[in-house]
Homo-oligomer: 340 residues x 2
């Protein structure tokens, strides 16, 4: 993700790993579209991208009479792209709060301030991920075989990654381990993005289908699991990519640790527990088709929730940029939040 | 599957559900190829197909001097197609035993006897499945949402099916329930075959990806699970399609029953438990590609076990053609075997 004053340049992740296609998003509508169709994805990344979307909207409308109405309209459109990741709302709210706090100033100055904030958010995301890496790397030891699900790497963030950031930092500190990557149906972020990223980093990675994880735990090959999160309640219940919940259940059943790595912006302070987390249900075509190939009979009924909620009781620890939260999360998470 | 004296006619399942392509297998080599590449699949179906392969070999070699050597060679080739399903070996052994018991007769008569046996095996498979349906249907009640994995239906057998046969019989008796079908990566037998079969039968079926099963158990939507089996040890440990083990773990964790439906020919009487079951590891391309589309980076390392072993302790009951085995299976399975 690269900001160029009048455009946000991203890797269009829908083409990875076969093609590294770089695209420019030149207005907030393009940013919204890119988030909706997963050209850019991952809770931290879509938060920062949406912030730049607000900047682009402010620039577009700074000379217009109805600056505030239009800015709000753009923010609403950006909000409606995806319902589960809280970082999206967190970033947009933060941007709007800055605009409101400076409402006496000319619109062009507000746009400047918003741009400065988005750039700060970008830098903060990288710092956060580096800090998470340092807090999380002690959990990884030589000889580990770490299962991960979906993509919580540099492609899901501004850089370095959350769950994969922990693995990256551990690797860079000389720890030698392997990763098993769930392919993560339906959109195959594991196969397409995680394997690609980890191979680029030189970390030995084995791709498996999502239904093999239990078998490799039973065979005592996988030693622990780590994933990112899209929204975390105050009690530690964590929403993440569909399939994460069953990875956590399988880890528990086999006596293996299950870690979540996410910045504190992922915590939704309005949620006491995970019951209130809205689960996005996506287009059935994602399940019935793969690229252009239909893989199910015409007319097949489909469910396609994009996320599930892992109860806190299944989570060994939550790794954040301010330190590691252990159970009881009702106490440890608010304590870390107090340090922001 | 249709026998026509000089050929075995099958649906080439690699084209389903988009195309119902019918092919003729005219010699044992074609039968072996069809089993290897999964044109025909499912433990009971490949057992019967291999039996017809032996018949085709006997016909081919009946006028040759080295009838016995060549028949044995063909049997060996058929055996080498797939390592896990015991029905394959069971069927070939049964055919060879009939040949040996009649070795004094002319080769053409031996071929006649083998053909008669294969036809009998075909009829027996259907009878078995109908009987399994009757023994298993009491486990299905109105309002159930039954999870199934892979395809244990009419396409995996001669007709009716094992796990899906139980559902078919329950449906035909007027029970009204739904099925959730795991798509079953990598080869998508659930999406391609199970959904197709159940839709044809009019049973309401919802397709999900393999990583959603836990979520729908957590949501209290799925009420029980049923699968087939490819090999069962005397203690009840059951090998079946990769992913079955984690379905069983998830069912246990959520307090849901997990049933296996399989003919007694699936029991391997030489195995005290599942430790000795050989797990077929298939081509990595099945994971890295979907039809012609590559979905993982070039050079990605892959594991691709085709099966896993579900320990008996996770299995609520095993439904066979002679009745239902309950734990302790060390006692109930040999008791049923004694009735064959």
């Amino acid at each position: 993700m690269l900001w160029g004053r009048d455009r946000l340049t991203i890797i269009d992740q829908t083409y990875l790993p076969l093609e590294k296609k770089i695209i420019d998003l030149c207005d907030y509508r393009q940013v919204a579209e890119a988030i909706t169709v997963l050209r850019i994805r991952g809770a931290p990344a879509i938060g920062v991208a949406a912030a730049y979307g607000v900047v682009l909207a402010a620039r577009e409308f700074e000379k217009e009479d109805d600056f505030w109405g239009k800015l709000q309209g753009a923010a609403t459109e950006l909000r409606q792209t995806r319902p589960t990741a809280v970082n999206l709302f967190w970033a947009i709210d933060k941007m709007l709060a800055i605009a409101v706090a400076n409402q006496e100033r000319p619109s062009s100055e507000i746009a400047d301030l918003l741009e400065a904030e988005a750039i700060l958010m970008t830098e903060d995301d990288i710092k956060c991920n580096m800090a998470m890496g340092l807090h999380g790397e002690p959990f990884i030891i030589d000889g580990d075989v770490v299962l991960t699900h979906c993509n919580a790497g540099s492609l899901a963030t501004v850089d370095h990654g959350t769950a994969l950031g922990v693995l990256r930092t551990a690797w860079d500190k000389g720890k030698r381990f392997q990763v098993y990557a769930d392919e993560t149906r339906p959109l195959l972020q594991g196969a397409r993005l995680t394997v690609y990223e980890l191979m680029e980093h030189g970390i030995p990675t084995t791709l498996i289908t999502d239904n093999m994880a239990g078998h490799f735990m039973q065979q005592k090959i996988i030693t622990k699991a780590i994933t990112g999160a899209d929204r975390i309640a105050l009690n530690g219940d964590s929403a993440n990519k569909i399939g994460t919940y069953q990875v956590a259940v399988l880890a528990k059943y086999h006596g293996l640790p299950f870690y979540v790595a996410a910045p504190l912006s992922t915590v939704d302070p309005r949620l006491k527990n995970g019951d209130g987390i809205i689960i996005e249900e996506r287009n059935p075509d994602e399940v019935t088709h793969l690229y252009s190939s239909r893989i199910a009979p015409i007319g097949a009924k489909v469910r396609n929730p994009a996320f599930d909620v892992t109860p806190a009781a299944l989570i060994t620890a939550i790794i954040t940029e301010k330190g590691v939260a252990f159970p009881p999360y009702e106490e440890s998470i608010p304590r870390l939040l107090g340090q922001i």
